[in-house]
Symmetry: D2
Subunit: 483 residues, 4 copies
């Protein structure tokens, strides 16, 4: 997305491996293909016969491990790794994962993708009991619960702790002799298991990471499951049976890489189908279909195919990342944006354009792109969004915790169309989204979480319940005032 | 391209501006959109009321100007800039441009895209006369000629010097009070003139750079022309009338950005048309068309459109660049490649695939991609190349100065098909290439240089003549031996 | 010291300030003059109206705060800072201080110089109660004790915690509205209080840091004291009355900067006096006195003065620090050492030299310097050490926790003299050391800790008691075997 | 020196070696001990069987060769290296040496310490003949002369060129098969020859560099000599017999390292003798002698010895270099200075101090140090300078090309004493300086250049003649006006 970070940030990617020489090297490659899930920081913990070593750093994986010697400092045959998403604030190293814990009775390391909905109340309770938290992230809570559990068996302690935390999560926990992988009771965050030709087991947020290290896919980790991997192989256990599938639909729409499969559905295929259904729901007479590179290309080609309107490369993305220095004035800032996305005049001039984008958050980017195309000579620009309008916060791991920045929470279609300067505007319906993904399940909403579109949260919201009510009330009043 | 640099390297991009406050800032933005033309080094010379300042460095533009203060050290209302292509050897700062010359009677700065064919003999002649060269590049020769010219008028000196050098070139020369832009007599290298809304004039290797700084296109610099820009505006002059258009066809096929127009033809449109004609010349029965990202996507969509076979995203390119550290073993190295390009299993599995690539140099990448697709489950892979087979060296500015690394110089279609492991292989014909680009000219080969395809060089080769003959003889004998 | 780090490492320097605009800037300057106390890492926590921000990093202060923007990220009117000493292992960022603690009821930050003797048993006890430690340093223990204290008043909690930890310490604890400074019951580690002209209060490990920021010295923090600083000024409180002065004598001998005063005694003057007394105790007939730069120059000039033998600059230290890259062979490694310390041939050739060093740990450096001087033509080299022989471990904050590397624990004077290749060898007596420092106190050993010289530890050793006994037994047996 | 660079900058140090494996490694070590002669930039050219490779960079040697691989990129058995001094302006890489020249008939590389007095006129003449200069330094001129010489024999060309350039110089010129070393006809700049145990020959600006690499001193290069080193050994030749010794006296006073010998005189011994003679010429009743660290310690100890007043460490220099970031205000700037030099209160308080400095340029530092001592409680401060007052420019390689910044050119002793705030002020006489150094020669001024003290330049000044006259006239008038 040009200039602005799209404000739709995945909370991290995780990767783990057990039983492989140079495990940290493989983890580096695995994390590299998960880099799109987080650019704020990266880290790896390696396990050398029970001795755990951890290296973490701010920035891209390639920066953290720029010095070739860093990976050599992570010897061992097992490892877990993590990439963390980037936001403006709180960019402190302390929050970069995997977290490392040294106990007199042994080390452990933890990596987490997701967001807990009862973190605040758990944290307060634990602090009152004398616990000291070293990070501002939720992740640490699991370890405090584990260490304070009244159970004597480690596995019982862990299961109890997993039952205590609520929300969306995929956890990788490595101890001296085992690697544990667990997913929340709704399977909100994805996690897949695979196996290397060497026999080593691999777990990763997305199957593209399995492919990138040459591992064969075995299975998705199911809601409520706890996978235990050690030198004897892997074992599927569970910490709760009270589950119901509700995979984050934004994974299919925007987050995941097109070459990943989630619960058996290829992401590119799902996006193309969203484009096809969008063409049926929101048709328009036009000369060419243009997708916003790179995330909307699958949907745009689906729209083109279903509508019979030719797909053209009307926008080009500069593959080189410009240094972001402070721009002296507005004119310079616009030029800075222009460095990332360029219209192809020779393609769009004089044409009626269907502009396909995957989703809209603030809308400032869409507004900018519409203007780019019109300035390049497009006769008309019809904006088509290959997902429903985002109207509600997410509390399970996507960085939308307020509706303030969601344009669709504040404006209706006509108002948005005017704001964007487009000739028409259309979104995909929730029903078509569910159909396009087409999971084979009888769970509500086709086994998807679509709460950010329709407010239908698959779980109680715990600490966030009152926050959501306040948000909705405020929103309601703001709409009234506008009218 | 995965792993290997494709061995098809453009020799540089140039950008110049006259009459604009903060000229070096605009030059930074302009060079940024020319970054694909060279990643070895970058530099800018700024002109502050006749005082020239120069900053150059190795690596990407964003690295050279990483410190926000560097651009502030380049004050003034005019500037020229340069990005240089990357090769293994000779990566020394001395060769990074623009070159800067301090004379007791004033400064000048020079930026050059191209390659001179009589550089060696000129250099030797000049050294015998006592000249000292400080770089190993050709560029410096022009200044030595200029300073030793017997003419008294500067413009006469410059024209004489431009007539003396041979080959392919686009020069930008900035003196204290003027900016000169010149293109070789065949127009082998592109150069375009534009104007900012502020009135400032801009020259750039590609029109995408004009767009990126918000300049309006005025005209392409024609063969033999010498444009003179100063505070009174621009003037079109010429240094020779003995010209004939022969634009480098690889600019359309591979080098230029799809949003650039060269001599009135949009690059994306030309590529798409190459794809369409390729579908007609080299049809095949298949389920899906897949392009090699990112450079072959235009041609692939043209192939899909003309053949009626649906275009699919069967390959994904990782947008994050991995650190290139030394791989401990072959297995690791392959994994390193895999980090850049991934097949989409869910798309290609069980399918007959038409794989469209823009061009083939060594062929090792093509071989690797074919294997990637087959391993991901493709039933058949039919390789289609949207340009003719590369068989001859280029001496005008592309980094193919020997046929050793050109697979098509050593193998016929059947041999290559076997080498790649593809089910079939087809190239675009030279005639179709010329037709796809479709320049409006009566010049031979449709105004294009297609020498690397058919050996038909548009000029005498001077210092390289004997080299080419030796090359061809060696090639002939090697083919004989193989038979 | 050339090549080897002298293996005598201070455990850190601390600096704090309250009531000063740009407090982190002042802290930077203060820490800079404490840099000799630790080069492994540095950090600052700033307090902006109760909001605490912390930046830490590995390496020298100037590296951690290389980017001018880092200090701007630490706004506020109070701050504490820390420099940490360098050892081979455990160079992890987690252990760099000040430690930062975020509680739901407020933040606090802690900086510590020293070593706790009951850390291990306290840590085990706390972990059994569910505590999670995030660092491998002792420092964190104080906060765990504080948070678990059964007292209700914060000050009572803190005092109880300070009474619970044993060993040598100087703590700076900053909460949202107060800065606490405390020293162990023996005053093993130094800490001084001062005041800026602006009225702001400053605490620092050494008075040189007060001088460097322009603060006036007020008083040394006394054993058992707890100083409380806030917007109303400072208050002297105490957490225990069970105290007895035993300042680390190595502070005077080696660690502290010569311009610092500790408990009223200037360090340079103390060293010079050690040199004078050494001349009396260990006289020798010679031509010149040469000191090992830079730490032994004070003692050497004292020796020269008392003996009447002229002081000469027979050794020069290169002020530029060479990059430490891996040396291909032994010859190269020696050259690397030679880069740091050079003999002055023109001074030492043909002379009988008294070489004065402040102390000897392993002895490898002394051996090397003796050889340097002899190779440069010295006729005789008489080694004189301006402190007693180091024979016992320190458990209060100096990095000698085993006698393995102490040459004087294993060899007698004659054996050492032979090892060094010197013509004679002499140490200062403990009695003279005490006299040279001359603290006005009736405490045993003149108010000094001299345990590393004579085994007379001023406190019980807690967790280290058995370790010391084992050490001594092993040592005893090894001496027997040698005989 | 605190804050300001003392404005007395040596123009560079050179090092060369022939006949030694890993020659660039040895050169690194050699340059390291010459680092005090230049911190702006450093470079090495290595010679691998006639193939010359060059690496240069801005900043300290350790920064330029920070990456361990850089030295590996400089293979070969011969090398020359250079460190360049630091000034505010013109810090461009182009001027960093050794300069590298690639000719079609072979490579050569040149390193130069000194300054040419006819550079400007030679440059103008050469440019008129078509020469292009790539640097703004004088050094390049020699190569242009060499390449244009009408002689046919290389040695004749070189000798003619050396006779053509005027001023102060020490040149190292490396061709494919030889290393040449030459010194100007007055021997203004030092250069010494030595030999490694391996048989390899070494040349260096100072003998400390010979020592640091373990080479034995053979001889100083004499005025007018040209040493030729190749695989057959070294040969002493000369390019002129019209010579007269006039070694730069500032080498003894300030520039050279105390462990170096120049023309047989040890620098520390010379400085100590300057201090002794100063004590006799400028006696004063006082309690302690304090030297300004580090450069004035030799002279101060000489003063102490001759006067019988005890030498004390009244000033301490921080061995850690602080990051120089922009200070928000004057108060902060002062603090920044204070970080480098600290008075030892416990030593100077209540004392009458003789403060010995080696030389005075602008005087701002002296003024600052006097104030430091008085603020620290000194009762009186008597400033004694161990060299004569600097009143005239130097055109042979020291960075004083105008008298504007020389305080002694504008003020008399009384005025300076008032400016410094000292209780009294005294300089060493030129006669005593000459006596202190005591070269065995019958040349005028004891074989020394003392022009900056008395205007007695040992050579004609060529291009600078008129400049000096203008300078003196201006100075004369300014003194008149003041009166």
């Amino acid at each position: 997305m040009p200039n602005e970070v799209k404000s739709l940030n995945e909370e991290c990617g995780v990767f783990g491996i057990w039983g492989q020489p140079q495990a940290s090297n493989i983890t580096y490659y695995g994390l590299h293909s998960l880099q799109h899930r987080g650019q704020e920081g990266a880290g790896i913990t390696a396990n050398d016969s029970g001795c755990l070593t951890n290296i973490r750093g701010l920035g891209l994986l390639s920066k953290v491990f720029q010095d070739p010697k860093r990976l050599e400092e992570l010897p061992g045959t097992a490892a877990i790794g993590h990439v963390r998403y980037s936001t403006a604030g709180n960019k402190t190293l302390d929050n970069i994962q995997p977290l490392m814990f040294h106990f007199t009775d042994g080390d452990m390391s933890l990596a987490h993708n997701g967001n807990l909905t009862n973190a605040h109340s758990l944290k307060q309770r634990l602090e009152n009991e004398g616990a000291i938290f070293h990070t501002t992230s939720d992740t640490e809570i699991l370890i405090h619960l584990l260490r304070r559990s009244s159970h004597t068996d480690f596995l019982d302690k862990l299961k109890e702790s997993l039952r205590t935390v609520k929300g969306g999560f995929a956890f990788l926990l490595m101890t001296e002799d085992k690697l544990y992988a667990a997913v929340d009771p709704n399977g909100l965050r994805p996690l897949a298991l695979g196996q290397m030709k060497t026999g080593a087991y691999v777990v990763a947020s997305e199957t593209c990471a399995l492919n990138s290290v040459g591992a064969e896919f075995i299975r998705d980790i199911q809601p409520g499951e706890l996978i235990i991997i050690d030198d004897d192989g892997f074992k599927v256990d569970y910490y709760t049976k009270d589950t119901q599938l509700a995979i984050c639909s934004m994974e299919y729409i925007y987050f995941a890489r097109p070459d990943s499969d989630i619960h058996g559905v290829n992401v590119h295929n799902a996006r193309k189908e969203m484009g096809r259904l969008l063409a049926k729901e929101q048709p328009v007479e036009a000369d060419i279909v243009v997708g916003v590179p790179n995330s909307s290309l699958s949907a745009a080609s689906g729209y083109a195919e279903a509508s019979g309107i030719p797909y053209e490369m009307g926008l080009v993305k500069n593959q080189y990342i410009a240094r972001t220095f402070i721009q002296p004035n507005q004119d310079m800032r616009e030029r800075s944006v222009r460095m990332k996305l360029s219209p192809v005049k020779g393609v769009v001039a004089g044409k009626k354009v269907v502009l396909v984008d995957d989703s809209i958050v603030r809308g400032t980017t869409s507004k900018y792109i519409v203007r780019l195309l019109l300035e390049a000579g497009a006769k008309e620009v019809h904006l088509r969004i290959a997902s429903p309008a985002l109207k509600f916060p997410c509390y399970y791991g996507i960085d939308i915790q307020t509706t303030d920045e969601l344009i669709a929470a504040h404006k209706n279609i006509a108002e948005m169309n005017q704001f964007f300067g487009s000739n028409s505007l259309g979104f995909l319906s929730v029903a078509s989204l569910i159909k396009a993904i087409g999971l084979k399940t009888k769970a509500p909403n086709g086994g998807l979480c679509v709460a950010y579109f329709n407010g239908d949260y698959p779980t109680p919201l715990y600490d966030f319940e009152s926050e959501l009510q306040a948000e909705l009330k405020r929103l309601h009043e703001s709409r009234k005032q506008e009218v």
